[in-house]
């Protein structure tokens, strides 16, 4: 038996193309900004108030401003056009690219697989995540581990910046790490590691409690993914503007 003969790619009458288009535009804009800032190699550290943009943290190579290298400079100066963030960006990018929410977002928006529910995709063949390279999406938990370490570094930077007083920059850094922490903890791999992998919750009450808390955050994973991504860029922009003396930091104490 054959399927019903319906020639139209979709019979949806709503604006199904709007969410993937918005997602694509958003991800493209953020990627362009992040690439520009990564390779700019400047205006990432405000010496007066100890603000370090999260995009350059930790700053581990010899071309870093020494005061911005909270963990020393174990790496030599990077050759050519390479800048300090290229050491950490692969881990941060890997965490976002393999994230279960972002996978949905870019599979739909960038690869049209599918562009929207009940809208036919344009590809003749589909093997999903069964083979290379997409089988590497299973490495998400490793990027989660790396992102957790980098989150701790960001928290450390934020705490250090409070040593110079209190300004708007401190509050922005604080909101930034809070959103990054919420996004990282709401990760599906974190939910699995916290307790999801257990078969008997009743035998592990602490892990069950942790799982329920992570599950609450996990319900907001998409919102946290966007909020944290946009706020990282805004935080970086603020630090760049203060570092380049385009604006001055609004100070509350000192």
């Amino acid at each position: 038996m054959a399927r019903a003969q319906i020639a139209a790619r979709t019979l949806r009458t709503d604006r199904w193309w709007l969410p993937p288009l918005t997602t694509f535009a958003g991800l493209l804009l953020i990627s362009i900004y992040a690439a520009f800032r990564t390779f700019q190699g400047d205006f990432y550290w405000v010496d007066q108030y100890h603000y370090l943009t999260p995009m350059y943290s930790p700053c581990l190579s010899e071309e870093c401003v020494p005061a911005a290298s909270h963990f020393g400079q174990p790496l030599p100066a990077l050759p050519g056009f390479l800048t300090p963030p290229v050491v950490i960006i692969p881990f941060l990018l890997g965490f976002r690219i393999t994230c279960y929410y972002y996978r949905k977002a870019y599979y739909r928006a960038a690869w049209a697989s599918p562009p929207a529910c009940a809208v036919a995709e344009p590809h003749a063949k589909y093997t999903g995540e069964t083979r290379f390279p997409l089988i590497a999406q299973n490495l998400h938990r490793y990027f989660f581990y790396a992102a957790s370490i980098l989150l701790c570094v960001n928290i450390y930077d934020t705490v250090l910046a409070f040593g110079t007083g209190l300004g708007l920059g401190n509050l922005i850094l604080l909101v930034n790490v809070s959103l990054l922490a919420a996004y990282t903890l709401s990760c599906h791999s974190c939910r699995h590691i916290a307790g999801g992998r257990l078969k008997h919750f009743s035998k592990h009450p602490v892990r069950y409690w942790m799982w329920t808390q992570v599950s609450k955050l996990n319900n907001r994973h998409m919102q946290l993914a966007w909020a944290s991504l946009i706020f990282v860029c805004l935080t970086d922009l603020y630090v760049a503007l203060v570092a380049s003396e385009t604006i001055s930091d609004l100070r509350f104490i000192n």
């Binding site: 139209a8 979709t10 709503d14 599906h188 939910r191």
Partner: protein, 249 residues
């Protein structure tokens, strides 16, 4: 508050067919299935439609309304504009029998491929004891009414007929997850999910969750946890090492 609503309904069978236009009376409080029944009663007595409970619990009247997979009995006419033409078509993923009725036996074949619940050998029926927190996850999946809208909307088989053999679809991967998370099930479901039911084909675009009339979080609570279990088993040497060191099976 009645009006004459404009409808396009797919009519035909596996030898061919197309959309036919109808104008049908619509009354306040009605659902799309009411209109289809009125159409049968007044203009198209041979129109085929599968339905049963009219309460969103039997999963029989699955179809597509304006291109979106829905239960006809749970789609209120009040969500549409009066001037709008409403298109009603059969589920695309399954072979057509006639008009709005499809052959969903693909799903029964896949259901039979999932090995049934396997309690411990030394536990007799009546001796099962478990706590509520241990069965809560599985209970969410038991809300499934088997309407197969998730199977219909999943692009893995909707857009690629050739994947039907390798991929069981979200409904039956959820069944595997339900058993895997059951505290008394002893079968090894993880390798089955990946190797026998095609979990790797799922690219978690969440259309199954979007169309589920029972609002089951199929992707977040069944498919992703199963993918994580597969990662434990096949792609995580740290877990492998931990299992060896602490002699966990």
């Amino acid at each position: 508050m009645s009006y004459q609503g404009k409808f396009r309904v797919w009519r035909g069978d596996d030898s061919g067919g197309g959309l036919e236009d109808f104008t049908v009376e619509v009354n306040e409080g009605e659902v799309v299935l009411d209109i289809i029944h009125r159409l049968q009663a007044t203009q198209a007595p041979d129109l085929a439609v599968r339905w049963n409970c009219k309460a969103g619990k039997c999963g029989s009247c699955s179809a597509e309304v304006n291109g979106r997979p829905r239960l006809l009995c749970m789609t209120r006419m009040s969500i549409f504009e009066e001037a709008e033409t409403i298109t009603v078509t059969p589920m695309r993923t399954f072979p057509i029998i006639r008009d709005l009725v499809t052959d969903v036996s693909f799903n029964y074949t896949k259901a039979r491929e999932v090995p049934s619940f396997q309690p411990p050998k030394d536990l007799a029926p009546g001796e099962y004891r478990m706590q509520q927190v241990d069965v809560e996850r599985s209970q969410e999946f038991r809300k499934c009414i088997e309407c197969f809208l998730c199977q219909n909307t999943c692009h893995v088989v909707r857009d690629h007929e050739e994947n039907k053999e390798a991929f069981s679809g979200p409904r039956f991967l959820m069944r595997v997850a339900e058993l895997e998370m059951h505290p008394l099930d002893t079968a090894d479901r993880v390798d089955q999910a990946q190797d026998d039911h095609g979990l790797g084909y799922c690219n978690i675009t969440k259309c199954c969750s979007e169309v589920c009339p029972e609002h089951i979080h199929i992707t977040d609570n069944a498919l992703i946890p199963m993918k994580e279990r597969v990662a434990d088993r096949k792609y995580d040497p740290i877990v492998w090492l931990g299992n060896k060191l602490f002699r966990r099976s």
